[in-house]
Symmetry: C2
Subunit: 432 residues, 2 copies
Amino acid sequence: MNRRSFTTTALSALAGSALPLRFRQPGLRVDGARINAHLTALSAFGKNPQGGVSRVAYTEFDRQAREAVMGWMRTAGLDVSIDPAANLVGRRTGSDPSLKPIVLGSHIDSVPMGGNYDGQVGSMSAIEVAQTLAAAGRILRHPLEVLIFENEEGGTIGSHAITDGLPAGELDRVSQSGKTFREGIRFLGGDPDRLDSARRARGDIAAYLELHIEQGGRLDQAGIPIGVVLGIVGIRHWEVTIEGFANHAGTTPMKGRRDALLVAARCIEAVNRIVTSVPGRQVGTVGIIRVEPGAYNVIPGRAVFGLELRELDDAKTLGFYRRIRAECERLARAGGCSIAFQETLASVPALTDPKIRRIIADAARNLGFASMELPSGAGHDAQEMARIGPVGMIFIPSKDGISHSPREYSKPADIENGANVLLLSLLTLDAR
Amino acid sequence: MNRRSFTTTALSALAGSALPLRFRQPGLRVDGARINAHLTALSAFGKNPQGGVSRVAYTEFDRQAREAVMGWMRTAGLDVSIDPAANLVGRRTGSDPSLKPIVLGSHIDSVPMGGNYDGQVGSMSAIEVAQTLAAAGRILRHPLEVLIFENEEGGTIGSHAITDGLPAGELDRVSQSGKTFREGIRFLGGDPDRLDSARRARGDIAAYLELHIEQGGRLDQAGIPIGVVLGIVGIRHWEVTIEGFANHAGTTPMKGRRDALLVAARCIEAVNRIVTSVPGRQVGTVGIIRVEPGAYNVIPGRAVFGLELRELDDAKTLGFYRRIRAECERLARAGGCSIAFQETLASVPALTDPKIRRIIADAARNLGFASMELPSGAGHDAQEMARIGPVGMIFIPSKDGISHSPREYSKPADIENGANVLLLSLLTLDAR
């Protein structure tokens, strides 16, 4: 998918960084045991024999898990509906009808052979925050919304439908579930013919907050329980196709071969060499490759690989891309092959709102937690929501930085702490 | 498959190189038009829209083509049967009951998207030689056999079954047709439960002759119509598995990644570098690779590629292998990965019989054709037959050296000339 989001500008309605004393509410805390019990209950839907879940969007496991989640949302005092894009929407009215909602959200779908924390921690914590407020009889000034987005792992589909819309052509692509996106959205109770009515415009939300596991190892290594996310890196994908000439591997001398895989191998090495040639947090990955015809005894006539670059500064990304492309073109020429780069994803970086960053850091401090600022190397629904309003993201540690794996793990105490930072940040935002 | 064949020793029953005058038979020639008409008729079975054929062994196209071929064999005066390994066997009795048969053979199965000449030229020419002899009322001293081997492209399965047997475990592997080898052999009319009765011992044949397209470009470049094959190179395959650690491509810093594909890329480059580091005809190819999990946004945790080495001197092959393995192990360690080499094919070189080489060269000369000696870079049924008797191979030019492709082409005149060399070589062998 080609996507271009713009960077969130400052949220003018928010000001200052010091937390007013009246919001240091030692009494209002989430129920950590309840969040973790919900996470355990959720883990039953699509459980892998090896641990973790395979709860791919639009599958029966996904549908069943959403049913359970809607029950918990209702128990948390939210009015629950499914929007045309099949996102789960939980609402509670605020005391000031002139205000736009503050939205808490995340997702519950997983990658195949995924873990029990990615998306799920933020989803259960958002519901828990609503339940804590309801149990305390606390009505916010702003409307409160909890959004459980559909199909985050397949490309932030649900949040993209809200902020930018889904082109009709994309709806007919086949998703990882085997269903088309159109079929999947309908399967989950959405209405793909009315997607436009799910869209929201810039200014339709007061703010968006998301709690998520880091998925990297920085917090875990530093022993810091709360991360304040600077932004979500831009992600660009290119499908790189190298055309050589398939021929018999036994009868074709080494000299004069036009071996597409050999050129691809040199290109993959070049990607790594160029991305690591300067200091920084940029990452470049070749995670997928296929060759044709693909046999021991045939020189590959074609190799296709996927190049991904991620970086918080898109200009830097494009600089790396230009260097990689020039070097790969040189390598292809030297190997008697042609090469073509096809851009397949262009998600530009989404910065979080500086004022919300300060609110999160203050909330952490007031609760007694150390925090650090860091970028998000992974994509999130927050990057989509940044198109329509100011966003903030809270990270909690991922053990050993492992994610998208049954071995993904975050401690129950870290989850509870993150949910309390989410609650306190929400209260601070609401008061402004 | 692990296979070890031994080198053919001299055929003591044959002696001398000068062609006795009585076998310079200007009158006995094949019907080139008939061979080429048979080739055209054969090309209908599994024809690709782009030209050439996809007549993969054990498919319906293969079965139908064999039915047609059996008809042509009968017309050529051969007694036709299907042996338990599903090879087509055509026999004609000789005048001396004490002699073992001289065998002419090749195959008619193709690779997917293959051409109209590989195997097919030799098969149609062998049948044509039998028909020419029958039409002339010429009875050989030796019994004559035409063997159309099943599934040459899947690993010289039919000829291997005759010479070395097929282990029961291998019969249950799935062939390129989707059927197991056991199912495929039964589908073609063989009896996989009686394979042992298809086997022949050393000494069971007087000689084996095969005409084949070169598949390389040496004859075409040199403008020489007949190649006298020195031997069939040994082919060794290893499945190389690199284990790293799959992790999120966005959240895992470049430093400390254990990227199995990056290591594989460096290994593929090393294979090429080492194989081309010394002069010679050796070839080394990586023609197939797969990575797991295989997504743009996941660092590959595993990469598996196929390494193939071919060379007429097996000690040289093993020397290259040791250097490649040591270098790849070094690269894997440097990349935080483990690496394992699993040998999946060890077909040692099969030299042709020096006396038969001379007979072929003399036959070419007597027919007025220039010839040159050259190795076969491709594997052939002849390499299997070399286990049980002296073999000779005749090559004709492949246009531009292209093979295993719809663009494979050999001129009708070259095919006819090759078949005449096959006929005259057979007559010379028979007379000794």
